[in-house]
């Protein structure tokens, strides 16, 4: 059975009316739109709906004019966007700049799917406002490969099967890339035995990697493979 066939089979099993009603079949929905465009549109549409339906409570003043023009550097390219002040960096990246590699998971700083680098440090893009990042330099998962050559962390995730559904993967990768730099710079972690002594890069064990990646959740529980990927890439040649 092809991948498309599997999707349509699941659709029929999941909805007992499928195939008997006038509802269009999955294939019909997908006929003139490729899957990636469809998914991007869905994510963007949901996020946009969240913003426009946030109606002020009865009796509160009308929303003020809250749009600001912000200039950011994203993956080395200068971007000027006009955003509502309450727009998160995550929503600005996905919906206005069109970089949908960064994912919206919990939107509450609890899952790590939205991890990007700001001025070289890993942060959660759902927990900061785009207006607060005026002038910042941002790197997303789209910005770490060199042309067609994957970043060595990306390659390690492929080699070690560090994902199943892939939704958390861009966050896991951005976190892992930063983790290696932090360890090289001598950052200790909660897994470090003695924080008073200098942290040496050779101490970056699997236990250290697990602790340092604990802010990135994976619902498929690919943790062993993710830890393998990062531990191997940390100590290769």
């Amino acid at each position: 059975m092809t991948a498309e066939g599997a999707w349509s089979r699941q659709f029929e099993i999941g909805d007992e009316n499928a195939g008997t009603s006038a509802e269009p079949k999955w294939e019909a929905w997908m006929s003139d739109v490729d899957r990636r465009t469809f998914l991007e549109g869905t994510g963007g549409g949901l996020a946009y709906a969240t913003v426009v339906t946030a109606v002020p409570a009865a009796g509160s003043p009308a929303p003020p004019d809250t749009k600001t023009t912000v200039q950011l550097t994203v993956n080395g390219k200068t971007r000027t966007i006009n955003v509502e002040d309450r727009t998160t960096l995550l929503d600005a990246l996905r919906n206005q700049i069109g970089l949908t590699g960064t994912k919206k998971g919990c939107d509450r700083g609890e899952c790590g799917a939205c991890t990007v680098h700001i001025d070289g440090r890993r942060v959660l893009s759902c927990m900061t406002l785009a207006v607060m990042q005026a002038g910042s330099s941002i790197t997303t998962v789209e910005g770490i490969a060199r042309g067609a050559v994957l970043h060595r962390v990306q390659k390690a995730f492929v080699d070690h099967d560090g994902f199943q559904c892939g939704f958390c993967t861009s966050g896991q990768i951005m976190s892992s890339v930063a983790l290696l730099k932090e360890a090289r710079a001598g950052w200790p972690s909660a897994a470090t035995e003695n924080v008073s002594a200098p942290f040496l890069y050779d101490q970056l064990s699997a236990a250290e990697v697990r602790e340092r990646l604990s802010g990135n959740l994976c619902r498929c529980a690919c943790y062993p493979n993710i830890v393998d990927a990062v531990t191997v890439v940390a100590h290769e040649g």
Binding site: A54, P56, A57, S60, P61, P63, P64, T66, T68, E84, D85, R86, T88, D107, R108, G109, G112, T115, R121, R122, V123, L124, C126, M127, T128, L129, V131, M132, S175, A178, L179, E182, A185, G186, W187, P188, S189, A190, T192, N194, V195, S196, P198, R210, E211, R212, S214, G215, N216
Partner: protein, 331 residues
């Protein structure tokens, strides 16, 4: 999120003045707590003032007397990795390293860490459940609700929430003072007076008022700081708030405790100092677990566990013993 206007603060005096004048104004630094509260409609500021660009507030420096000075805008990760902090007060670094995740620590400021709100699920659930901290007078859903994670010390019928900060517990053990800028000038507040118990006004987490801006932390030299450990006990090993946590520091004469500093997290509306236990520990050998346990127990005579968290009193005492023995192993 509720709509709001936004501006960037340029200097402290203007920040304090604007904050004093308009109760709709909230200050934002890292935003790692405030953003979630705004998204959940727990707080609805009409104006956000971004204080991240206020000059001079991100310092981390050793003081000549052996203590530390930390600016309010220093990020949690910068404080955690600072070698001066790691050597002078390892419990501060350890408390930070077991808070949140690296991504959040890279964003969150030290001042904001002190200001974070409780993780009581009822406080963050605005779909109609009563909460006196969110809406004073509405009642406490946790008092006879799901209260496994709640306080065992100092709670009132109005509120049984705990304060979620880890580093505030370590700072409390070390008699840290908080420097506060206001339109009336600068004052220093001992951290024990900065926080408050819920009483009948749990809507107030601390004793700051309008126009008060935290500018930094001063940690005086204490011999116990250099030989210290922060132990956090939680439902999962990482990236979770504490069930109970212990900040412990010892001044030793051989294996005998000359003086001890102890504070706990996850047990009260504020970092909970264990003064009675500290006093009873003086003169006790680290190799005498019976006397150690007895001394620790002195601070639990006033523990009042709730329906679902009876386990916390025993867990806390065992955690303290473990923390003291860990410090002893490092001696």
């Amino acid at each position: 999120m509720h709509p709001f206007t936004f501006s960037t603060a340029k200097d402290l005096d203007a920040t304090a003045a604007v904050h004093a004048r308009d109760s709709g104004v909230m200050l934002i630094a890292g935003g790692t707590d405030l953003m979630g509260l705004m998204k959940d409609h727990v707080v609805k500021p009409t104006h956000l003032l971004d204080i991240n660009h206020l000059p001079g507030l991100n310092l981390i420096e050793p003081t000549s007397d052996g203590g530390l000075r930390i600016g309010a805008l220093a990020r949690m990760s910068d404080v955690a990795i600072d070698i001066g902090v790691r050597q002078r007060a390892p419990m501060i670094s350890e408390a930070l390293l077991c808070s949140a995740s690296t991504q959040l620590r890279n964003m969150a400021s030290m001042g904001g860490n002190l200001m974070q709100r409780t993780r009581c699920a009822y406080f963050r659930d605005v779909d109609g459940t009563p909460c006196n901290k969110r809406s004073l007078g509405s009642g406490c859903s946790a008092r006879h609700g799901i209260n496994r994670n709640h306080a065992i010390f100092g709670w009132s019928d109005a509120c049984i929430a705990t304060h979620p900060s880890d580093v505030a517990v370590a700072l409390s053990a070390l008699d840290c003072t908080v420097r506060v800028h206001s339109p009336q000038g600068v004052r220093t507040v001992p951290i024990d007076d900065f926080y408050r118990l819920p009483g009948t006004t749990p809507d107030k987490d601390n004793n700051l008022g309008r126009g008060d801006v935290i500018i930094g932390l001063e940690i005086p030299f204490r011999r116990e700081a250099g030989r210290s450990h922060y132990l956090k006990v939680r439902d999962r090993q990482s990236y979770e708030f504490a069930l109970v946590s212990v900040a412990s520091g010892l001044d030793l004469s051989g294996r005998t405790i000359r003086s001890a500093r102890l504070a706990m997290g996850g047990v009260a509306h504020k970092p909970w100092r264990l003064i009675a236990a500290e006093q009873a520990l003086a003169g006790v050998s680290l190799d005498d677990p019976t006397r150690l346990r007895e001394a620790i127990g002195r601070s639990f005579t006033d523990a009042r566990p709730l329906e679902q968290n009876v386990f916390k009193a025993e867990l806390a005492q065992r955690a303290i013993l473990r923390a003291l023995q860990t410090v002893g192993e490092r001696a």
